[in-house]
């Protein structure tokens, strides 16, 4: 089992969700985060005082998939979340040691 984590532009969330559902994904967890990448932020002025905006709002989501489903899911995310411009985000994959469904107690791939 693998944990897929992705950072995307907030307005792309609905497109990505639809693409993931079409790819067979049955659940995901979403959080609102801020971040920056290689390009950094920009500066604004407020009442004459300059301030840097380093962090840009992003959406982060996580989903658990079976090993075989990783590549199709990544492809779906990339296609749906991409705009071709700076700030599109990143995807990373990590291992999951154990997975439990709380309601039934099921473990492993049955809990996905």
């Amino acid at each position: 089992m693998k944990l897929i984590t992705a950072i995307i532009k907030p307005f792309k969330l609905d497109d990505v969700k639809d693409a993931l559902k079409a790819a067979g994904v049955q659940g995901m967890t979403v959080s609102e985060v801020r971040g920056f990448g290689r390009q950094g932020g920009h500066s604004e002025t407020y009442r004459g005082a300059e301030y840097k905006i380093d962090f840009v709002p992003k959406v982060r989501f996580e989903l658990v998939v079976e090993d075989g489903a990783v590549d199709p899911v990544i492809a779906a995310i990339k296609a749906a979340a991409s705009t071709g411009k700076i700030g599109d985000g990143k995807i990373w994959v990590t291992d999951i040691d154990r997975l439990i469904r709380i309601r039934t107690g099921e473990e492993g791939p049955d809990a996905i």
């Binding site: 002025t45 407020y46 009442r47 004459g48 301030y51």
Partner: protein, 512 residues
């Protein structure tokens, strides 16, 4: 007997409705003649013996109606100015952070009652014990001088808690209008001291402002005190002239805002270790802009109703000059801040409009519309440059720009009377023999002298008193182990809402 700054502007019986008579004397004469003829005709026709016995007193009837209408105008104005409290509340809260929102709005809310109580018991008599103005029915003052006499009165007395002999409906209505102006002064420092003022310390300021601070300047000017009589004692124009209070209200509040900001210190994180200011953006720009519009709306009561008489149609000129200055102020501010920083910062546009309104408040009745536009334009540039100066050079933290809008704008407006007044209005102002308040554009430098003296008094005396008040309060509080007038560091960082007020403004969105 008519005293106070407006004295002399209306004296003889027929002058009870000055402009109605002056501008259309033939109308009145025709009316009186027509009424006389008709009542005479009834007499001759042997009509009702009752009518024959007492003829219809046309002049008395018109006077009564005019007086009542004028008092109505004053109460209407009072309502508009009191509504400005909402404007201040929204502007300040919008320009401050969400974690302090309940505290900031509460200071603006509470100040209404706190200043009111001080003014009701002590302040109003000190300022207006010697005032009367028969155009709205205040035929005699409720008291006299307390300190000083003749042309050198420093404080008045009479009518404590609006009680005692001579308290008429007109006086009570006049109190309402004046308490609204006092509350405007009191609420100004809540802007410059926002986000770090202890509640208890703020409460003391409210009482002090209503009972003592504002009444001092009001007594010296509008109440008929020494500053208003400098036409006689120092040969300066028509004496200190301030139609609705650029100086008496806004600058007096502005210097207190300056003093308070100086004593209380900058917010944590406002200046970095090199002393450069950091931006601390307000949490609700739409709220601040709405507040600005409410202030604009209320200003029509602030300025136009200061004619105290609906029969004095100058109120139409006043209202329009007010709007002109506000409009030009907002637009010029937009261009100026764009030139200075590249973007039309909405907060600065709002400050520009407010500065225009503040600056026109003293000269509004005495200047031509073109001058109102010029005043608005200059005020906008002044306020923006002042915000930069106060923050970058003086290193004072003023979250909403109160020092610049009210202090700088107010002092500038006070001087404008001595520059742009064109002599078209204000005959007999301050009981002088002036035929109209005139400034430099009419070749009269005396008025500017009177205004400059007022400016100096505001800066030195009122500034000194307000600074002493905050400094003494802070020192005494620290000596008593209560930590001074500023909130603690933990409270300020967490947000004053919970520790000071016990509630969050936005409990579902709490985030330090």
């Amino acid at each position: 007997m008519i005293t106070g700054s407006r004295a002399g502007a209306s004296t003889a019986a027929v002058d009870h409705f000055p402009d109605l008579v002056r501008k259309r004397p033939s109308f009145l004469r025709r009316f009186l003649i027509a009424t006389a003829i008709s009542s005479g005709a009834v007499l001759v026709a042997g009509g009702g013996a009752a009518l024959a016995a007492d003829e219809f007193d046309a002049e008395g009837a018109i006077t009564s109606l005019a007086t009542a209408t004028n008092l109505l105008w004053v109460i209407l104005g009072a309502s508009l100015v009191i509504f400005m409290q909402a404007g201040f509340a929204l502007v300040e809260t919008g320009f401050c952070r969400a974690k302090h929102a309940a505290h900031v709005v509460a200071t603006n809310f509470a100040i209404f009652g706190l200043g009111f109580i001080g003014f009701f018991f002590i302040g109003f008599p000190l300022a207006f014990g010697g005032f009367s103005y028969s155009a709205f029915g205040l035929d005699a003052p409720i008291g006299g001088s307390l300190i000083g006499s003749g042309e050198w009165v420093f404080l008045w007395k009479g009518g404590w808690a609006l009680s005692g002999g001579g308290i008429t409906p007109a006086l009570i209505g006049f109190f309402l209008y004046m308490v609204a102006f006092m509350d405007t002064v009191a609420t100004i420092p809540t802007g410059s001291m926002a986000e770090r003022w202890k509640w208890g310390s703020f409460v003391v300021w409210g009482f002090f402002c209503g009972a003592v601070y504002y009444p001092l300047m009001a007594a010296w000017t509008w109440g008929g005190g020494w500053l208003s009589q400098t036409w006689s004692t120092m040969n300066l124009g028509a004496g200190y002239v301030d139609f609705a209070g650029s100086g008496v209200v806004h600058a007096v509040g502005g210097v207190a805002a300056f003093s308070g900001a100086k004593v209380i210190g900058a917010r944590i994180g406002k200046f970095d270790k090199d002393g450069n200011p950091r931006a601390i953006p307000g949490h609700h720009i739409p709220m601040a802009m709405l507040g600005t519009f409410i202030l604009l709306f209320g200003w029509f009561g602030f300025n136009a109703a200061s004619t105290f008489a609906a029969t004095d149609v100058q109120f139409a000129v006043v209202a329009t000059n007010t709007a002109i200055a506000g409009a030009f102020g907002g637009v010029v501010a937009m261009f100026w801040i764009t030139k200075r920083t590249g973007k039309p910062d909405p907060g600065m546009m709002a400050n520009g409009m407010l500065a225009g309104l503040v600056s026109i408040t003293a000269p509004c009745a005495f200047v031509a519309p073109w001058a109102a536009a010029v005043i608005g334009c200059i005020a906008a540039v002044l306020v923006i440059e002042s915000v930069f100066f106060v923050e970058r050079k003086l290193k004072l933290d003023d979250p909403v720009g109160a020092i610049s809008v009210h202090g700088v704008g107010g002092l500038f407006g006070t001087l404008c009377v001595g520059i742009f007044a064109n002599g078209s209005y204000g005959a007999g102002w301050n009981l002088s023999d002036s035929e109209g308040v005139e400034g430099i554009i009419k070749g009269d430098w005396g008025q500017l002298g009177a205004q400059a003296l007022g400016v100096a008094v505001i800066i030195v005396v009122l500034g000194g008193i307000s600074y002493s008040f905050f400094k003494i309060q802070d020192t005494v509080s620290k000596k008593m182990g209560k930590g001074g007038i500023r909130s603690s560091e933990e409270d300020e960082v967490m947000g004053l809402d919970l520790p000071e007020m016990g509630v969050y403004a936005y409990p579902e969105f709490v985030k330090s």
